[in-house]
């Protein structure tokens, strides 16, 4: 599904040039659940942003579903993104002015799905992840765990083949965090490809492969037997 070849990203300010990613090369197959780990500033978020086409690489190639996407313009990236990728953030990033229902509905709106179909899909998904009773609440009326479930639902609503999660449990206590991780596993089992950035080795243990980054380079990569056994 994803093929990175010598992907490099450099941040420049007036005086300083810092290399966030240094010739990173790896593949991700359809249906994988991959965790990216590493200390702060190692480049893992940059990598996730490039994977999510929110950011452009400096050099190297990024093939997504067989197409080179690394150098598409914003509109092109936006088109690929809205059809194929769902995002989950550490700080949920729900729109405060929209209700739970409306937040989840948003990607469908941008994909020009008609109203009745939107309603049916959103309701079904809310039911599935257990927040249907909160449909008309606003984000600030929910607990952190509930908010993140809404964010996950929003990421899933278009049934994207790829989910990118940036420390999805970072702002949650452990029991809520576990709920979210369970949800991720269910997704994975249903066939969704997941790439997750995390600090937590506990969370990483849910995934099938762990990539360790340091100073913009992959330092180790290992299969996670435990998780595979779980599958």
């Amino acid at each position: 599904m994803i093929k990175l070849n010598k992907l490099t990203k450099v941040y420049r300010t007036d005086e300083i040039e810092s290399t966030a990613l240094n010739e990173v090369t790896f593949d991700i197959q359809q249906g994988e659940f991959v965790s990216i780990m590493g200390p702060s500033g190692c480049g893992k978020s940059t990598l996730l942003n490039i994977l999510g086409m929110l950011d452009k690489p400096e050099s190297g190639s990024y093939e997504f579903l067989g197409n080179e996407v690394g150098h598409l313009n914003e509109k092109g990236r936006s088109d690929v993104r809205k059809k194929n990728i769902g995002f989950i953030f550490q700080n949920f990033n729900l729109i405060d002015e929209l209700t739970v229902f409306e937040n989840i509905e948003l990607p469908l709106l941008y994909n020009k799905i008609n109203a009745s179909e939107r309603k049916q899909q959103v309701n079904a998904l809310m039911e599935k992840i257990g927040i249907a009773h909160r449909a008309n609440h606003f984000p600030q009326q929910l607990s952190g765990g509930q908010q993140q479930r809404v964010a996950v639902a929003r990421a899933l609503i278009t049934k994207p083949p790829l989910i990118l999660a940036d420390e999805p449990t970072g702002n949650l206590d452990s029991s809520h965090g576990n709920e979210v991780m369970e949800l991720m596993c269910e997704l994975h089992e249903a066939g969704t490809t997941i790439v997750m950035v995390t600090h937590s080795s506990h969370d990483a243990s849910y995934s099938g492969r762990i990539i360790n980054l340091l100073d913009g380079q992959i330092v180790s990569e290992k299969q996670n037997k435990l998780a595979q056994a779980a599958v």
């Binding site: 700080n91 990033n93 948003l106």
Partner: protein, 801 residues
């Protein structure tokens, strides 16, 4: 999708109520001003348009320069209308009128009515101006010399529900008229508004005496320029015999001496806004007001628009996350721009709704100040609504586009990570906008002060007479006029009646003009002549400059005595005027009766300050129709009651009706005063909107710098230091705005003041004052926020981050 935009727009407004109120209220006020100005312009430009073929109707006039005495007046001689009708193939019809510029008392049986606006008109009048006849016939109504036509309202007042046609109307008990027609009040606005039309079919054949207003209506398809040329040629021939008879020179010689004399044609549709000549029937409007009001409306809209742009971009940090999320979930930049524009247009429409309510609320006040009769729900409602919608949509797009482009450009990764440094951009743009906004406000403040300085200057200017204790009473009947001089003692019995006198007209009235010549000079000069009695100068407090005043002992009836004003002496160019002889009676040269100039009085104003003082000559006459009483300041009401009682004994048929001279003269200033008052209101409105915007911006700045303020306070900064830090930037902007505002206003004000013959020197003070005022307003607005920020607990500020 659109529904989603609208939903978010409303929720976002609800969440940020202060900003929403500033934006919407500011724009609503801006739109209110725009709609009011639109209604005003619609009204002002609608004049004469209801007459059929109005674009073929012209008023004639004269532009002349005789012996350095300039005349520009829409007046014409008796035979002109007839000459138009009989000698020009291009003329459909022509009419002449003489407006009566004083109140007329008419009577039918026991019903008395005071007609404010009467007119003498020839039998063609209703063929040129198509009033709608309810009774009678437009073709023939004014054919007979004793014919009178009344408006429906006048007829109702005089006759009640009785049929008026064929009934007798007594004019001032001097003359009987027969009602030959009842017309509807004219459908639209015109430069004249008459209640009563009396036949005017007699006339002299002289071409040099101009006592009429003549209107000519051309045939469809007539070549105006060719007609005008032909008219000038024809009429210049007509005046030849008169010029030779009165001036003893040919027209060629007359013109060769550096004189000018020309007949003019003025489209009637231009009269209301563009004509400010001598002898207008009524005071006309002024195109300048329209320009100024359009200017103000644009400034107010600009100020409100800037509020919108500034507050939207300043607040962008709050919207940044939303932008990020929307982009990540698939929104393109175009979609986001559409969304933000939708929001601004929604706000604009809420404002529009409010604006229509405000217009309804403000209209009575506006009408009161501007003496208009504007109405939102008139025939133009559709046009007004369309215009307002257009402005609203344009405004929504104009004010919304900058924030829309600004906000939609955010990079999602940055804003979603909580890095808002990028969203703090636009600060320079905001500063530029604040400068523009305060430039606009300062222009209005300076303009307002200059306008009021000029008005107050005109009020306080030495007008050459004292009118505050003088009341004017018209003499309505011949016996009263004849015998009034014998009645003076009756009035002065009351010690509070200080003086009693008469004159043919008073300051604030239309003057008469005649040709005069000094003995031994062939040259004739037009002078304003005024007939007075012996006590006139005392009553009005007009000062003597040279010689003596009129005197019962020294003046005799066979040789008239004349008193000139200083301007007349200057224009006649005489060294020692006292004892020189002057006349306006040239008959046929043999029996010219010259009178002695016995005194010179200091100039006093008859007209408003947009006109220079005219050369005047005064003489004694018993045939004058206005009495005046100077009364003591104490017990004025009792004194007036006394005068009324005594008057009504002498003249039971015509009740005592008076006006204070200063109020009468004051009406000349009224249009300017009305304009000034309106300008004041609009300026205050503009300042309020500016201040609201600044308040919003200041509160945002304080909010944005909360952490900085907290740290500074922890490190020992005082409240004063923090406030200083927060206000300093805004003050700088206001000062920069003043640098732009000063020269712009200087040019505008110079232009406006050039309308006045008597104008204030362009003072520096309004500029300084406006700058200080703008600073104070800015300081108060900003300090309020700064004080709150500076006094907040630093712990909260630090925790907040």
């Amino acid at each position: 999708m659109f529904k989603n935009y609208i939903k978010v727009a409303f929720r976002s407004l609800n969440k940020n109520r202060v900003y929403a109120i500033i934006n919407i209220l500011g724009l609503a006020l801006g739109l209110t001003v725009t709609i009011l100005v639109f209604l005003f312009i619609n009204d002002e430009t609608s004049y004469e348009k209801h007459w059929s073929g109005y674009d073929r109707i012209y008023r004639t006039g004269i532009i002349a320069d005789m012996m350095g005495q300039k005349l520009d007046a829409p007046i014409s001689p008796d035979p002109m209308a007839n000459a138009f009708r009989t000698e020009f193939t291009d003329v459909e019809n022509a009419t002449r009128i003489r407006a009566v510029n004083q109140e007329i008392m008419v009577r039918h049986d026991q019903t008395k009515l005071y007609i404010q606006k009467g007119v003498y008109a020839d039998s063609s009048f209703f063929k040129v101006f198509d009033y709608e006849f309810i009774h009678g016939n437009a073709e023939t109504a004014l054919n007979e010399d004793n014919a009178i036509v009344l408006t429906e309202e006048t007829a109702k007042k005089l006759f009640g529900d009785k049929s008026a046609l064929g009934e007798v109307v007594k004019y001032d008990d001097r003359r009987d008229y027969i009602v030959k027609g009842i017309v509807k009040e004219s459908k639209g606005l015109a430069h004249f508004q008459f209640d009563m039309f009396m036949a005017l079919n007699q006339g002299r054949t002289v071409w040099m005496s101009n006592n009429n207003h003549t209107y000519v209506k051309l045939k469809v398809g007539a070549d105006f320029n060719a007609f005008k040329t032909e008219m000038k040629r024809n009429f210049m021939k007509k005046i030849e015999p008169d010029v030779e008879r009165f001036m003893k020179i040919t027209v060629e010689e007359f013109l060769a001496q550096g004189n000018a004399f020309e007949y003019q044609l003025q489209p009637i549709q231009d009269i209301h806004l563009h004509s400010h000549k001598d002898y207008e029937i009524e005071q006309n409007g002024n195109i300048m007001y329209i320009y100024v009001f359009i200017g103000i409306a644009l400034l107010v809209i600009l100020i409100a628009g800037i509020n919108f742009m500034n507050l939207s971009t300043a607040r962008s940090g709050k919207r940044a996350k939303e932008v990020g999320v929307r982009k990540v979930t698939g929104a393109s930049r175009k979609m986001l721009i559409t969304q933000f524009l939708t929001e601004s247009i929604i706000q604009s429409f809420i404002a529009l709704f409010l604006a229509f309510i405000l217009v309804e609320l403000f209209l009575p006040g506006f009408n009161n100040i501007m003496e208009t009769n504007l109405n939102l729900f008139n025939d133009y409602l559709g046009k007004t609504v369309f215009f307002a919608l257009l402005v609203t949509v344009f405004y929504g797009l104009f004010a919304g586009s900058y924030p829309a482009f600004f906000l939609s450009a955010f990079q999602p990764i940055a804003v979603l990570k909580g890095d808002l440094t990028k969203t703090k951009g636009g600060a320079l743009m905001r500063k530029v906008l604040v400068v523009i906004q305060f430039t606009a406000s300062t222009i209005l403040i300076i303009g307002m002060i200059i306008i009021f300085s000029q008005i107050s200057y005109m009020h306080n200017k030495d007008i050459g007479f004292e009118g505050d204790q003088v009341i004017i009473v018209p003499l309505q009947t011949d016996p009263m006029t004849q015998n009034f001089r014998n009645y003076k003692g009756i009035f002065t019995k009351n010690a509070n009646v200080l003086n009693v006198s008469r004159a043919s007209y008073f300051p604030g009235d239309n003057a008469n003009q005649n040709m005069f010549a000094l003995e031994g000079s062939e040259e004739q000069l037009p002078l304003w002549n005024m007939e007075v009695d012996y006590d006139f100068f005392e009553t009005l407090g007009v000062q003597l400059a040279e010689g003596r005043k009129f005197n019962r002992e020294l003046d005799n009836d066979s040789i008239p005595s004349y008193i000139l004003n200083e301007t007349a002496v200057k224009n006649l160019n005489i060294e020692n005027p006292i004892g020189r002889r002057i006349s306006d009676n040239f008959g046929n040269g043999e029996d010219v009766v010259y009178g002695n100039i016995v005194g010179i009085v200091k100039d006093f104003h008859i007209e408003g300050f947009n006109q220079p003082i005219r050369p005047m000559v005064m003489r004694i006459s018993n045939q004058v129709w206005f009495a005046s009483f100077k009364i003591a300041k104490n017990d004025m009401n009792t004194t007036i009651d006394y005068l009324e009682t005594e008057w009504n004994k002498l003249e039971p048929s015509h009740p005592f009706r008076y006006k204070f001279l200063d109020e009468k003269f004051g009406t000349l200033l009224r249009q300017q005063e009305n304009f000034g008052t309106m300008f004041l209101f609009l300026t205050i409105l503009a300042i309020i909107i500016s201040a609201m915007g600044l308040y919003g911006l200041a509160s945002y700045t304080a909010e944005q710098r909360t952490k900085e303020i907290g740290i500074r306070k922890v490190l020992g900064a005082s409240v004063g230091q923090i406030m200083n830090m927060l206000t300093k930037d805004f003050i700088k902007l206001v000062l920069i705005a003043n640098i732009f505002a000063w020269p712009i206003t200087y040019l505008l004000a110079k232009n406006w003041l050039s309308n006045f013959t008597y104008q204030i020197d362009m003072p520096i003070l309004p500029y300084v004052f406006a700058t200080i005022l703008a600073l104070i307003i800015a300081l108060i607005t900003v300090s309020f926020q700064a004080y709150q920020a500076a006094n907040s607990d630093p712990v909260n500020a630090l925790k907040y981050e």
